[in-house]
Amino acid sequence: MNQEELNNRLSEIEDRLEAIEQPADNRIWLTCDAENSYAVNKFLFEEVPLRFVIATGIDSDDCFEVLYHYAYDQTGSIITLKTKIHDRENPAIESIAPFLPGAEWIEREIHDILGIEFKNHPDMRRLILSDDWPEGVYPLRKDTDLEAVKPGNGETPSRPGFKPSPPKGAGQTVSPILAVGPFHPLQEEMEFFQLTVDGEIVTDIDVRLSYNHRGVEKISESLQFDQIPFLVSRICGICSATHPLAYVQAVEELAGITPPERALYVRTIITELERIHSHLLWVGLAGHFIGYDTVFMWAWKYREPVLDLLEEITGNRNNYGNVKVGGCREDIPNELIPKILKELDQIEKKTEMLTKAVLDDPVLHARLKGVGILSKEDAIKYAVTGPTARGSGVAIDVRRDDPYAAYADLDWNVITQTEGDVFAKAVVRLLETFESIKIVRQALKKLPEGPVAVEVKEIPPGETVGHVEAPRGETFHYVRSDGGNRPVRHKVRAPSYVNVPSFKASCIGGHIADVTITLAAVDPCYSCTERLAVIDNNNKVIHDYDTLLRLSREKTAQIKKELGAPELKMEDI
């Protein structure tokens, strides 16, 4: 379906819409009544069908707005459906989560921050606010006095974020919250998982967020447009090139700014260098989770030269903050190019060795194939992105679908696998590393001369979206401006936000020993595997993270033994 056919498809529901705007070919804004939003959303998701990206809740003085963002990847289009809720006292709208599980989290989040009720939502527990956050205080409402919200008021929310503990059996005093620790040295965000198991089989999984909720979207409203790249690059340290890029592209689209060509190439190079070190980091951690610590040490050693290069270009090993509205902050000096090329040769050689070691190992085949399968249908239902989607045969990649920076000028491939298991995701990431090396080489060769930034005067009022392909998937930013110095709303969606809920599809029915690696396979900023608590329905056993790691490693050792590999004692791994 091309753009024209898509437009025709969308005009089928014209009678339910109030307006259709199309400021650019592949940016479509629809407006409808709150009463019609369920039907229109269902049409967009199931009939067209579009990929659900995220929803944004906005407090716009006289009413609340809920924006549903969809993407159509064949044409790289972003379609946004806007609805207004006029009742400020009891704002409510029909939930779309019953047919779109990928929207479950964001509706809970919008309820947390704006107090909008989602009717018929299957599970309205608290998601991102802390357990002691008072009821009825909604931080993103413009009239909320946040100074008055003091911590430790001792209230218990009526919608606790945790799942209730199973009924206590005779003599049992277990509670899933017991497992706040052990912290794991490889953690990132703190997330708390509750796994319900029957013997060895996982029957349910739940996650509690909030530990890492810093309120970036609210802070962003208090910063000026040119300060925000520094804030959003600190959302996630390992996506610190892609968050600012998505934001900057959104603002540039709004203001009609075209950055100089050299800036586009520099952006491409930095983003791809980031992808190389991020993927190597994941390979190392995956090795660690299944008991291959050598892979961990190797992979992390090989990513060091990339960090050194980034430091030489941008001044910082991480959090480069190298993009700004209108171009780039730092240029790549031409003298540095030979050095980068030389390092790339080294990295390519080492990654090749690592890839061969991983892909030729019969133990890894036996350990990772058929484990944690995310089927193509589930991948679409949960709207996952990035390597998680590509490992399940969903060939989407923003770099190809909606080309930005210099990707359209370069020759590279989108890597996909169809199996959807952990092995497929590992293959996607390893092969993507080579594609990234290829992209950086070409970009350095073609790097045009000239300035890297243009002057930016004013950001006009309006609203805009930007998205880029981060190492973990699509990073999406929505920015609304009223013509002033600061955005009135800035919504950020990181790829893990949609990838993490897919655990429900990939973990349930699997073995406990496979949980750590299955969770790690979506690379949830690689930390989600910490703070696991396992509740055994029958025996009421609590497994902590260490036990799970040990189980995972024991399984690898067992497979090795069955394959006739020399026996390895547990102490050795």
Binding site: W133, M190, V216, C236, G237, S240
Partner: protein, 143 residues
Amino acid sequence: MSWKIWSLKKSPWVFHVNTGACNNCDIEIVNLLTPKFDVERFGIKLVGSPRHADALLVTGVVTRQAAPRLQEVYRQTAKPCVVFAIGACACDKGIFTTGYHVVGPVDKIIREVDPNAIIAYVPGCPPKPEAIISGVVKALSVL
């Protein structure tokens, strides 16, 4: 110098606590263990439980949800222990100062449960691995 402090300074075992960091300080801490920096050669080891630790490496702004958990981890750590606030956020909340869900910084939250806690600061966004090593050495040498 008491024998407890003397023994604390040799081969410190560290426990890593993330209280709402962006991941970078955490990656740099893990980087310390990998071949390029390899702090295990000094006997510095990451351990899996605060009960085994001589020092806490705390990163992040301390979010509302994380604050009571950080205090609990500190209570469980064997005393005497050193708390290292790693990174700009842990030292002084950094760019997230105005966040509504942020109650840090680390020293304030730790001092709520132990006013006499030994706290060392390693600023940077993120501090380079070399800076973290230097910070640990400096802190241990003034104890």
